[in-house]
């Protein structure tokens, strides 16, 4: 934060809009968490603490120069992978609800896959930049190493099991690779083979995924049991109608809607503020996407561009998945709504990603050209 606030001169429109959007989303989040907790002040207090931490992480990541990220990328990636391996060790990782995803550090639970989200964005951006546009198009020096680089953490996350985060990591990494210029001639045939195969393995290996899909397709078959969540989510959104029943007056959060302040907060919000409020949230995320893409487009070099787009995509993709789940477009995944859902790791990670975007937006003046790529206009020498 300091880096931005101390240099007001350099806080241009793009980043100002980005900050306004993020703070608006956080504001909506505070209101929603307060309402959905139905007077549980403890929950609200914790949420506010997490918000402060998120602001700190924005400031922290925005303060570090881009070249440091690039240098640190292998280290971050290495630490993240090691943590992901350690969490699978029964003595170290804590098992909650059949999945070994957490380290218990005193009162705080730490999820290494959350850290991986952040590390993955930096690692992929750094790797793409180090390859250069020509080599990345090839099979052996481009596509194949990219598969290894992204495949390892994705696999580790998938076996926790945390299929939702694995899908999220895959999507983010490969959208970044796509932007960096990886050849679609390699990606499409591979995807055609890998995606159905992975799908089969996942469904075979993790029964709950298959169940979720089944429930998603026919929630009405078991409204009291497995279809409950989806049905309740739709009832929450639907009963909000155009303008909602009023802030704080929703009844779905009173033990009807499961996870009303985390994964399904969008539904709880939808009941109280209706279509107008939901659309406002949607528009804010669309603005975030636009801002992020424009920062990427005006970035100083391919590393910065890929990094900015990766961070933007990571945020908006999570939001889109979450909203798609609550509106029953997709089956349940357990991905939180960035800035709005209650939850420390999600807020801090989101904050860190925003910090990256701010940094990229701030380093446009400094020039480090990438030879051979015409995307970036040769800047005037200062």
């Amino acid at each position: 934060m300091n880096a931005i606030l101390l240099q007001p001169r350099r806080l241009d429109d793009q980043r100002r809009l980005l900050l306004v959007v993020v703070l608006s989303l956080c504001g909506l989040g505070v209101a929603s968490v307060y309402s959905s907790a139905s007077g549980d002040m403890e929950l609200l207090k914790k949420h506010l603490v997490f918000l402060c931490l998120a602001c700190a992480s924005i400031g922290f990541t925005a303060a570090i120069p881009l070249h440091s990220y690039r240098k640190l990328a292998p280290v971050l990636y290495g630490i993240a992978v090691i943590l992901l391996m350690l969490v699978l060790v029964p003595g170290l990782g804590t098992k909650i609800g059949g999945a070994r995803r957490w380290f218990r550090l005193g009162p705080v639970n730490f999820q290494p896959s959350e850290f991986m989200k952040f590390a993955m964005v930096i690692a992929v951006a750094a790797w793409c930049a180090s390859r250069g546009p020509d080599r990345i198009r090839t099979w052996f020096r481009g596509f194949f190493p990219a598969v290894v680089l992204t495949g390892l953490p994705i696999f580790l996350v998938a076996v926790e099991p945390d299929v939702g985060t694995a899908i999220f990591l895959t999507a983010t990494a490969w959208v970044m690779l796509f932007v960096a210029g990886i050849s679609l001639k390699h990606v499409i045939p591979t995807a055609c083979v890998v995606i159905p195969l992975a799908g089969m393995v996942v469904i075979e290996r993790f029964g709950h995924v298959a169940r979720r899909i089944e429930v998603f397709l026919h929630p009405e078959r078991d409204p009291q049991g497995k279809g409950h969540q989806i049905l309740q989510s739709m009832i929450g959104l639907g009963s909000g109608n155009t303008s909602g029943v009023g802030v704080g007056l929703g009844n779905q959060k009173r033990q009807f809607l499961p996870e009303a302040s985390t994964d399904f907060i969008y539904s709880s919000m939808g009941e109280e503020v209706g279509f107008l409020g939901c659309t406002l949230t949607l528009v804010l995320f669309a603005l975030l996407l636009t801002c992020g893409a424009r920062i990427a487009l005006s970035a100083i070099d391919p590393f910065a561009a890929t990094l900015a787009l990766g961070a933007t995509f990571a945020l908006v993709f999570q939001a889109a998945i979450n909203m798609a789940v609550t509106t029953a477009i997709l089956p349940t995944t357990g991905i939180a709504l960035p800035f709005i859902s209650y939850g420390g790791s999600s807020l801090v990670t989101s904050g860190a990603l925003v910090g990256l975007l701010m940094r990229v937006g701030g380093e446009r003046g400094k020039v480090r050209p990438w030879p051979g790529d015409e995307t970036f206009a040769q800047p005037e020498l200062v």
Partner: protein
């Protein structure tokens, strides 16, 4: 690279747009439908029962009232020591520990252990301090006088609905109006509920208090007399009714066998029946004075007319009548005094069927008395057009017509009241919960049947003779003019379809004081005993002493209406 970034941007915006379209469909288009679903699961209607009205006797004594009692339940999943808990509760509740233990071991979160407990039991259970036990308020109906007036009161069931007697008959008034409101519930089955004033749908209105014409003290005396009768004669059943002669108000109504409405389920269902209105009997000779009065009123006979009683056996219209002992010439008064079947048949023979029928109807025979008790029978009397040739002989001696005890008492009360038929009633007034809607019921309809002089000059002395010298001698009370008539009717044996010689319905009906120079008769008392099995005798031996005891106690105490 620029192109690909723009592609991601455009595709991303399209995806978000898609979600927007979905939101529109879900919230705006199908919003009302989901709103309906939400309302259905969020709101619950809650019904609050109104306080059930109290039943009083005419002097304000409480006969039935509702109190709040606590019922004990357990959450079996939270009971740690089922054996110990069951043992301790078994001692307090007075129930086998094994049965309680079985309940405490059930799966689930709720079992009843004891309903509507006494406050002392509740205190003892609270002192145990066992986790997983809880109390819930329930309304218990209490009959503080036990079995007293049980057939009148009836009882209400566990859910506080009247099932028998006054409780059933005036259930709607006693129940009052339940209140209704809607709450916002919580997703959990026993979660907290939110109540909003705008969701009230009507406050509960407490049930009306019912005041009966009964006099608790007289009721007690009547029941005492019946208990003595049961000890002495062990009848199949017995009924006694005390009416206020002038107003027809039922001062006491008792029956045997009875039951305790506090523990009604412990008695057989047959005991619930209020035989005074639900059972009909061929009452026999008690009807004779009414027939004689009709004949005298119509000018077909004078009390001093002598009638030959055929020395106890008279063959007429294909059948032979008998008297309980042979009589020669008897006056009409003598026929009543000695209860001669042949004599009354001859007296009545001058009345045509149509006239006799109209008199019997005027006494209230053959139609409901509408006294205000549930399950009332109309009795049995064929319309005169369908009478056979022997009916005119049978009816005067109390056969071929069947009356409820209440009808018999009411019919006889026509004489006590000075020739007026007064419809009996048991409901004195109802008091609305608002206090101002108190409604006192006007005395029931009255209709003159006989001239007053006929009753005063002829029937009173005639019936006093019965008690002084005739079949009803055991009803005599020193210093009180008592008028009455005995009745002994053979019952039809269900096996042979003929009149049995061993099974009888015996009765005694009368009123006092019967000397109108010092005031009108106060009470009319009817005692009817079905099939006495010990020390068998006629109405004069079995029913008259009960009548005497009741009348004596009432007059001796001076607690007259």
């Amino acid at each position: 690279m620029r192109f690909r970034i723009q592609m991601v941007l455009v595709l991303g915006l399209l995806a978000l747009g898609g979600i927007g379209v979905r939101l529109y469909g879900l919230q705006v288009v199908k919003g009302p439908w989901y709103g309906e679903l939400a309302l259905r699961q969020h709101q619950r209607a809650v019904v609050t029962r109104a306080h059930r009205g109290t039943i009083h006797d005419r002097n304000g004594h409480v006969l039935a009232l509702s109190v709040v009692r606590l019922s004990l339940f357990a959450n079996p999943s939270r009971i740690k020591d089922p054996v110990g808990t069951a043992g301790a509760l078994g001692n307090i509740l007075g129930r086998p520990a094994a049965e309680l233990e079985k309940r405490l071991r059930r799966k689930g979160y709720f079992v009843w252990l004891g309903r509507k407990l006494e406050p002392t039991q509740v205190a003892a259970i609270r002192a145990l301090k066992v986790r997983g036990l809880g109390f819930r308020e329930e309304i218990k109906r209490i009959y503080p006088n036990g079995s007293l007036a049980c057939h009148v009161l009836g009882f209400s069931g566990t859910d506080n609905t009247g099932l028998e007697g006054i409780e059933a008959r005036y259930d709607v008034a006693l129940t009052g109006k339940p209140g209704r409101y809607r709450v916002y519930r919580n997703g959990r089955p026993r979660g907290p509920r939110l109540r909003y004033p705008e969701l009230e749908e009507g406050r509960s209105v407490a049930g009306a208090d019912v005041v009966l014409t009964l006099d608790l003290w007289m009721q007690y005396e009547v029941e005492q007399a019946l208990d003595e009768l049961v000890r002495k004669h062990a009848p199949r059943s017995a009924t006694a009714i005390v009416l206020d002669s002038a107003t027809g108000e039922v001062l006491a109504l008792a029956g045997r066998p009875g039951f305790d409405p506090n523990k009604f389920s412990k008695s057989p269902r047959a005991n619930y029946r209020c035989r005074a209105v639900t059972d009909t009997y061929e009452v026999g000779s008690t009807i004779k004075p009414l027939v004689a009065a009709a004949a005298i009123a119509e000018g077909h006979a004078q009390p001093d007319d002598e009638i030959f009683c055929e020395n106890g056996s008279w063959r007429i219209r294909g059948r032979t009548l008998h008297d309980h002992k042979p009589f020669g010439n008897l006056t009409v008064s003598g026929i009543i005094e000695k209860s001669s079947n042949i004599g009354i048949a001859k007296v009545a023979s001058h009345l045509g069927p149509e006239v006799l029928y109209s008199y019997l109807s005027a006494f209230g025979i053959g139609r409901s008395t509408h006294v205000g008790l549930s399950g009332e029978e109309r009795g049995l009397m064929q319309p005169w057009s369908r009478w056979t040739s022997s009916t005119m002989v049978s009816i005067p001696m109390g056969h071929e017509i069947a009356l409820t005890p209440m009808q018999l008492a009411t019919a006889f009360n026509c004489l006590a009241s000075g020739g007026v038929h007064v419809a009996p009633r048991i409901l004195l007034r109802m008091t609305g919960s608002a206090g101002d809607s108190s409604h006192r019921f006007a005395p029931m309809q009255t209709a003159r049947v006989f001239k007053r002089e006929l009753v005063e000059k002829i029937m009173d002395p005639m019936l006093c003779q019965v008690v002084q010298r005739g079949t009803g001698k055991r009803a005599k009370i020193e210093g009180l003019a008592v008028a009455g008539k005995t009745g002994t009717a053979q019952k039809i044996d269900p096996e042979t379809q003929t009149y049995s010689h061993s099974k009888h319905v015996v009765s005694f009906v009368g009123y006092a004081p019967a000397d109108r120079r010092h005031g009108e008769p106060k009470i009319t008392v009817m005692v009817l005993v079905d099939e006495p099995t010990k020390e068998v005798g006629g109405g004069g031996q079995v029913a008259a002493p009960v009548f005497r005891q009741i009348v004596h106690r009432i007059f001796a105490s001076g607690r007259l209406p």
